[in-house]
């Protein structure tokens, strides 16, 4: 398939550098734009929530579940859950690499029962489900192999800390090759479906064509 999974070979220090640069990047964003979609590099609340619709399909119709949100930003998914799934009882843990981001999230959602935030790349618990929205899109100045190592490691962490399943989204390729210089990461679905099935042992459902140039993988245990 032409896609080598570098996760197990990735040097831990190498990924620590990648995570540190991601943390700095998003700290800058939230300081500039505040707790708004632009503060986490999304265009607007509506597109952000359209992504949550797809990601949370992994939870099915569950009315009570625990959820880890990798790269939680300021906790926008909690706003979505309140607006559209007010009946659900969600034990929520948001994880973010940026301490600044987590401070904003705690400020915004500190009052909400069942919501916690931690700084870090991996979850300290096993939850029913894990999601990651947009976490893999901005690869900054990282070399492609380091970035795919980061993605593979993160997906493996999500798999290891979710008992029922996890979901993540990826930007799909443009019609015309253009993004080499834009610091964005785009991928076809096949390599990551293959990785989630063969390496992580999940059962993958591909969600695409929902109006955004991207796809979502729902990976069930």
């Amino acid at each position: 398939m032409g896609f080598a999974c570098p996760a197990t070979e990735a040097d831990a220090a190498d990924l620590a550098d990648v995570r540190a640069s991601i943390g700095r990047y998003y700290a800058g964003k939230i300081l500039r734009h505040g707790a708004t979609p632009r503060g986490v590099d999304w265009t607007c609340t509506a597109t952000q929530e359209l992504r949550f619709v797809q990601l949370l399909r992994v939870c099915g119709a569950a009315a009570r579940f625990s959820l880890d949100d990798f790269g939680c930003g300021y906790g926008a998914v909690l706003g979505y859950l309140e607006r559209w799934h007010g009946h659900a009882t969600v034990d929520y843990l948001g994880l973010d690499l940026s301490a600044t981001m987590v401070r904003r999230a705690r400020h915004q959602w500190g009052h909400r029962a069942g919501a916690r935030f931690v700084v870090g790349a991996t979850s300290p618990r096993v939850a029913d489900y894990a999601i990651a929205s947009g976490l893999f899109n901005v690869r900054l100045q990282e070399a492609p192999d380091r970035w795919t190592a980061f993605i593979a490691r993160t997906l493996a962490d999500m798999a290891a800390t979710s008992r029922r399943g996890f979901a993540a989204n990826f930007m799909a390729p443009e019609d015309r090759a253009a993004d080499e210089e834009t610091a964005l990461y785009r991928s076809a679905p096949a390599p990551w479906i293959d990785y989630c099935e063969r390496v992580l042992g999940g059962s993958v459902e591909l969600v695409a064509e929902y109006g955004l140039r991207e796809f979502t993988l729902l990976v069930r245990s």
Partner: protein
């Protein structure tokens, strides 16, 4: 809202409702959330889409004020005001089977006081793309408060 920001705001609208990915995204958002509906003001819908000046809150308020003012302006559709006409046109357009991209432009209220909405094959001189065109009525406003006062005093 400063004159210099109007063009950028129209550009923002034209990009978000533009050909291919843009209009496809808008149609998907309409389907998922009913962004444009008689239950929501245009101001709230465009705020949800984050369309308008983003760096300066007072300019953003000016944009919202303009959108609200459309409720007092006429349209090309009988008794409907400009605001409701735009909301209804965007709703039905985005919910149609294969919506054309939308081109937003502006005209002077001296030429026509209301919003003008129509399909267009010639919205852009440099493009063969068909659009639904929405032309917003705009009025030149004297920015200098001193001159504005003098004008009203003498007028």
């Amino acid at each position: 809202m400063k004159d210099v920001l109007v063009g950028g705001t129209l550009d923002d609208l034209n990009q978000r409702f533009g050909p291919a990915d843009g209009i496809k995204e808008m149609a998907a958002l309409q389907k998922a959330f009913g962004v444009f509906s008689p239950q929501h003001s245009l101001k709230d819908s465009l705020a949800l889409l984050n369309i308008g000046p983003v760096e300066n809150w007072s300019e953003r308020r000016g944009w919202y004020k303009y959108l609200e003012s459309l409720k007092t302006l006429p349209s090309d559709s009988g008794s409907q005001n400009a605001h409701d006409r735009i909301v209804e046109a965007l709703k039905s357009h985005l919910e149609s089977r294969d919506p054309l991209p939308v081109h937003f432009t502006a005209h002077s209220t001296a030429h026509n006081p209301g919003v003008l909405i129509s399909p267009s094959k010639t919205a852009l001189a440099y493009s063969t793309q068909d659009f639904l065109t929405i032309s917003l009525p705009m009025t030149a406003v004297e920015k200098d408060r001193g001159k504005r006062r003098a004008g009203s005093a003498s007028g």
